[in-house]
């Protein structure tokens, strides 16, 4: 990402908007500037800020004048008043930053393959995680910290060392040079991303072991780890196997994603279905 210095009026809005805190107003240049090493190419600035077209030279003049009266130029906080952001053409390896950080990026365009599994979100159709199994999503980088691939490698190596196998279709797995050792491509180890997920599936008996490994690695890496622990419920919709393990380890889970089991192999044919109307007053809901 870059900021066009001819357009920027140094209003400072974008310095708050960047999830990585990578934008600052350079005191010498008097323009917003991006610390490229910290920027993860998430495009929150470019996609998220609303765009206005105030004339930069006039705005700078007005700002200077108003400042003499201690009056501040204050555009709406989610706006770049001069549309100053301009995406760079990203080359390898920098392009991996965007692949893992911009939720809207078309994955194919980045050279990083794999999208990850749908975890247990479609388990009612895929049966990916069966009774007696646990699907882990081990995510590094939240909230708003970011992580480098060398941090992921620390985690993947530790997991590989105990013989865990990684999900084939997961983008981090596809960036490994050796899935037996958990080694990740050397040329991307310093690349930083917003967050990314290592995905594994293990028998329930290994649940505690895996969590302890994650705890151990987390102490050594300069970011945080959150986990999704995916399990199949029993016939009554209860889950009495993994929760006690988590509680024994000191967790007190509050939040979850619950698959309610409505997925089928064949989606309903709606050709002759009675139409449904959208609610009338949809705006300003």
């Amino acid at each position: 990402m870059r900021i066009n210095p001819k357009k920027c009026v140094a209003c400072g809005n974008c310095t708050y908007v960047c999830p990585m805190g990578a934008i600052y107003i350079d005191p010498l240049l008097q323009r917003a500037t991006i610390n490229r090493d910290e920027c993860v190419e998430c495009y929150a600035c470019y996609n998220g800020l609303s765009k206005e077209v105030l004339p930069p030279a006039t705005v700078r003049f007005v700002r200077r004048t108003l400042a003499n009266f201690r009056v501040r130029f204050e555009p709406e906080p989610d706006v770049c008043p001069t549309t100053a952001f301009e995406p760079d053409k990203l080359e390898w390896p920098r392009v991996v930053r965007r692949a893992f950080s911009d939720p809207r990026v078309p994955h194919e365009s980045t050279g990083v393959s794999g999208r990850g599994t749908e975890e247990v979100k479609t388990n009612d159709v895929t049966d990916r995680v069966g009774i007696g199994e646990v699907g882990f999503t081990i995510e590094l980088g939240r909230p708003g910290i970011g992580a480098r691939f060398r941090d992921f490698q620390e985690m993947s190596r530790a997991l590989a060392a105990v013989g865990v196998s990684f999900e084939k279709n997961n983008p981090i797995t596809t960036l490994m040079t050796n899935v037996e050792t958990g080694d990740i491509r050397e040329d991307i180890l310093n690349e930083k991303v917003m967050s990314a997920i290592i995905e594994i599936k293990v028998p329930v008996e290994r649940c505690e072991e895996i969590i302890r490994i994650v705890w151990d690695v987390e102490k050594r890496i300069p970011t945080q780890v959150v986990m999704g622990v995916g399990v199949r419920c029993d016939e009554d919709g209860e889950e009495k196997i993994v929760l006690p393990i988590l509680e024994k380890l000191g967790y007190d889970p509050q939040r979850a994603k619950t698959n309610i089991g409505l997925g089928r192999k064949v989606i309903r044919d709606l050709t002759n279905a009675a139409p449904v109307e959208a609610f009338k007053e949809l705006e300003n809901a």
Binding site: S50, P77, D78, M227, V231, K257, E283
Partner: protein, 228 residues
């Protein structure tokens, strides 16, 4: 990235926060057949009848989106309001489609209705474990699978910055920065913006449309008067 699971906060802070989303099983191995987009359009249209806070199409966005003005007068113009109709009209490809509810009765009634529709598309509830359990009970369905969120559940009640993290993590993709959340908290405290304006400003960054402005407003009201 998983966008709805890891919202920061204790179970009680999700009292007005239910994300009900649908998605097709995309892998070939899954062998799912049929018109997923048509089913998802029906899912979202029905959701619109249950007073959602937002509808979100992960590909195109939610009810509040960033704007672009071509005239300098845009700077002084009114900000856009949430527009659910635009979300419904814009769905062009099956993917993750979400409805966000702030009232238990609406979320539960929607889940019950969607069960009766038998669309065959996978549906998940992202909320507190109890909220989802209750919704399943009302609909008379056993839960199929569950993914616990671990890592954010040890929320110290007085952790400084806790509310900024609660606001920021409502976009699981990290598009709502913690610094922006803090700025909006300050704006509300100084009465430079209303909680609604501040919540809507943050919501425009959430490109999947799952940011819950009702929960955000409630958190910002607390921030204003110093409730931790």
């Amino acid at each position: 990235m998983t966008n709805t699971l890891h919202r920061y906060g204790k179970a009680e802070t999700f009292v007005d926060d239910y994300i009900v989303f649908s998605l097709p099983a995309k892998s070939k191995m899954a062998g799912q057949t049929g018109d997923a987009l048509a089913a998802q359009k029906r899912f979202m249209t029905i959701a619109s009848q249950y007073h959602p806070v937002s509808l979100g199409d992960a590909l195109h966005g939610g009810a509040l989106r960033p704007t672009k003005s071509n005239s300098i007068f845009g700077h002084w113009g009114k900000r856009n309001k949430p527009n659910l109709r635009k979300v419904l009209a814009g769905m062009s490809k099956a993917g993750t489609m979400a409805a966000v509810f702030d009232k238990r009765e609406n979320a539960e009634a929607f889940v019950k209705r969607i069960k009766e529709e038998e669309l065959g598309i996978s549906v998940n509830i992202s909320s507190s474990i109890e909220n989802a359990k209750n919704a399943c009970k009302v609909a008379g369905i056993p839960r199929h699978s569950i993914a616990y969120s671990l890592g954010f559940e040890h929320v110290g009640d007085n952790t400084p910055g806790k509310q900024a993290i609660m606001l920021s993590t409502m976009c699981g993709h990290g598009m709502v920065s913690i610094n922006l959340a803090q700025k909006m908290m300050s704006f509300v405290r100084e009465n430079r913006r209303s909680p609604r304006e501040a919540a809507e400003a943050m919501s425009r960054f959430c490109s999947c449309g799952i940011f819950n402005t009702t929960r955000a407003k409630r958190i910002l009201e607390d921030v204003r008067i110093g409730v931790k």
